[in-house]
């Protein structure tokens, strides 16, 4: 027998699926814009839409808690949905920030973009996995994301260390790429949080946080 609360839970899941798809599209568009050196007009609009959807998820979650006082797997699901929704919204926000970098610094195609490109590739993969992990409640995929976190972190930190060692840098390239790497690193962190939330939904507990040296 379906419970009254299930109608709300289904609605919550559909909102999250919509957000997952849109957030992935937004980040991919921002990275593509960076590749071709031209701003993507829709990224800002999509990022605002993600914020609106995140607000809807919060409102619906609070309503479900107030009306049905969920416990156990229901409570965990709602709590995790709020966190995942925030993660999807942040994807959009950082994509918007990448667009701002392009607006500020202009065409960056002449910079050496190898580090940013490899970090962007990995970030895209993490986003894709995070959306899939949530859609299919797949713990194995979720754990894979958690294990991938170091790559983008290392790219960001390594780039900064490299800059500090360099005697001569192109300020425009260095600043813009540092910012973009920082945003990619934050997106990757949110992918990890989403992965952890998926594990929490399915298993009831989050994977242990590995200490970083």
């Amino acid at each position: 027998m379906a419970r009254l609360m299930d109608l709300g839970i289904d609605k919550l899941r559909n909102l999250l699926l919509e957000m997952g798809e849109l957030s992935q599209q937004t980040v991919v568009a921002a990275i593509e814009a960076y590749h071709i050196g031209k701003n993507h007009q829709d990224v800002n609009r999509w990022s605002i839409k993600l914020k609106q959807l995140d607000d809807q998820v919060s409102e619906l979650s609070i309503e479900l808690i107030a009306r049905f006082q969920p416990v156990a797997s229901d409570l965990r699901y709602i709590k995790a949905c709020m966190e995942i929704s925030y993660g999807f919204y942040r994807y959009g926000r950082y994509a918007h920030d990448i667009m701002e970098v392009l607006d500020t610094f202009g065409d960056l195609t002449k910079c050496d973009r190898s580090v940013v490109e490899s970090a962007a590739e990995k970030t895209e993969e993490m986003i894709k996995l995070s959306v899939e992990a949530f859609t299919n409640q797949d713990v194995d995929l979720a754990k894979r994301i958690v294990d991938m976190d170091d790559f983008v972190d290392d790219a960001y930190r390594g780039y900064i260390k490299e800059l500090m060692r360099s005697r001569k840098v192109d300020l425009r390239c260095a600043l813009s790429q540092t910012l973009i790497l920082r945003y990619l690193e934050r997106i990757a962190d949110h992918a990890v949080y989403i992965g952890r939330s998926v594990v929490f939904i399915v298993k009831g507990e989050e994977p242990a946080i590995a200490e970083k040296s």
Partner: protein, 280 residues
């Protein structure tokens, strides 16, 4: 609680010589009662099928489960009032501070004095005043001195969060009070004889949210001095007031543990299905 935490706590408890409830997920430190192999029923029907449970001292322990799971029979066994029903039978051990209350040497009346009970329906003595309702138990035990009685009545009514509402009309009939006040009067009556444990059988099921909140507030205060066991159908009430919660199903203890983890992440599938309303 994670498995690692659980194992760690079990190890610590073992080191310190503390007890652990048998089917529980939780180590119970300092238990007031230990129930072992408790079976009870009526005639040929067996309601409780062998319950093992430790009741922690100075805590609220909630017993929940669907109708007919044996919750009420269970707490009625804890102060030996189950056996007052014709055809009732009990088997197993209920240890109170290390002494089996079902030992032939134990006087059931003395046990009922040590373990008070508040019933589902408020049942003040209808012909008695508020004052006499509270003092009845003491008077029955031969206490006559007015000063002593006055002191106990005030203390008990204060502890039941009723004193301020009735202090000017103590000689009014107990049955003239509202349902919520009557239930708190029954709590005060139970407290007057200074029990060690208070059993409550769905004490708020007939009360509105305001009256319920007052009883719950009283419970949280009372647990500082008393051990409380409450049967409740209201899961939110268990979540609000209980330190430990036990889930019964068809006369068996399915899960017992600290309330928050049990409601957030129950270890047993049956508990999960019951508390999320996916039963049946």
């Amino acid at each position: 609680m994670t498995m690692e935490m659980q194992k760690e706590r079990e190890k610590e408890a073992k080191k310190e010589g503390l007890t652990m409830s048998s089917d529980a997920t939780t180590v119970v430190i300092d238990s007031k009662m230990k129930i072992r192999g408790l079976k009870a029923g009526f005639g040929k029907s067996e309601v409780l099928k062998g319950i093992d449970l430790d009741v922690p001292q100075r805590c609220v322990t909630a017993i929940m489960g669907p109708s007919g799971c044996g919750k009420t029979t269970f707490i009625r066994c804890l102060n030996r009032i189950h056996e007052l029903t014709p055809g009732a039978k009990v088997q197993g051990e209920v240890m109170l501070d290390g002494e089996n209350i079902y030992s032939p040497k134990v006087d059931p009346v003395a046990i009922r004095r040590r373990i008070g009970m508040v019933f589902q329906k408020p049942n003040p003595f209808p012909t008695m005043s508020i004052y006499d309702n509270v003092a009845a138990g003491l008077k029955l035990n031969g206490v006559r001195e007015r000063k002593v009685l006055d002191g106990v009545v005030e203390r008990s009514l204060r502890m039941a969060f009723l004193w301020e509402e009735v202090k000017e009309e103590l000689h009014k009939s107990g049955s003239a009070l509202s349902g919520g006040q009557q239930q708190r009067l029954c709590i005060a009556r139970a407290l007057a004889v200074e029990p060690e444990i208070i059993l409550m059988d769905e004490p708020c099921s007939a009360l509105d949210p305001t009256a319920t909140a007052k009883i719950e507030e009283a419970m949280v205060e009372l647990k500082k001095q008393y051990t409380i066991v409450i049967v409740t159908h209201n899961m939110q009430q268990a979540a609000r007031v209980a330190d430990y919660t036990a889930f019964f199903y068809l006369g068996e203890l399915i899960e017992f543990g600290e309330t928050a983890p049990l409601f957030e992440n129950p270890t047993k599938e049956l508990t999960e299905r019951y508390i999320t309303g996916k039963f049946g």
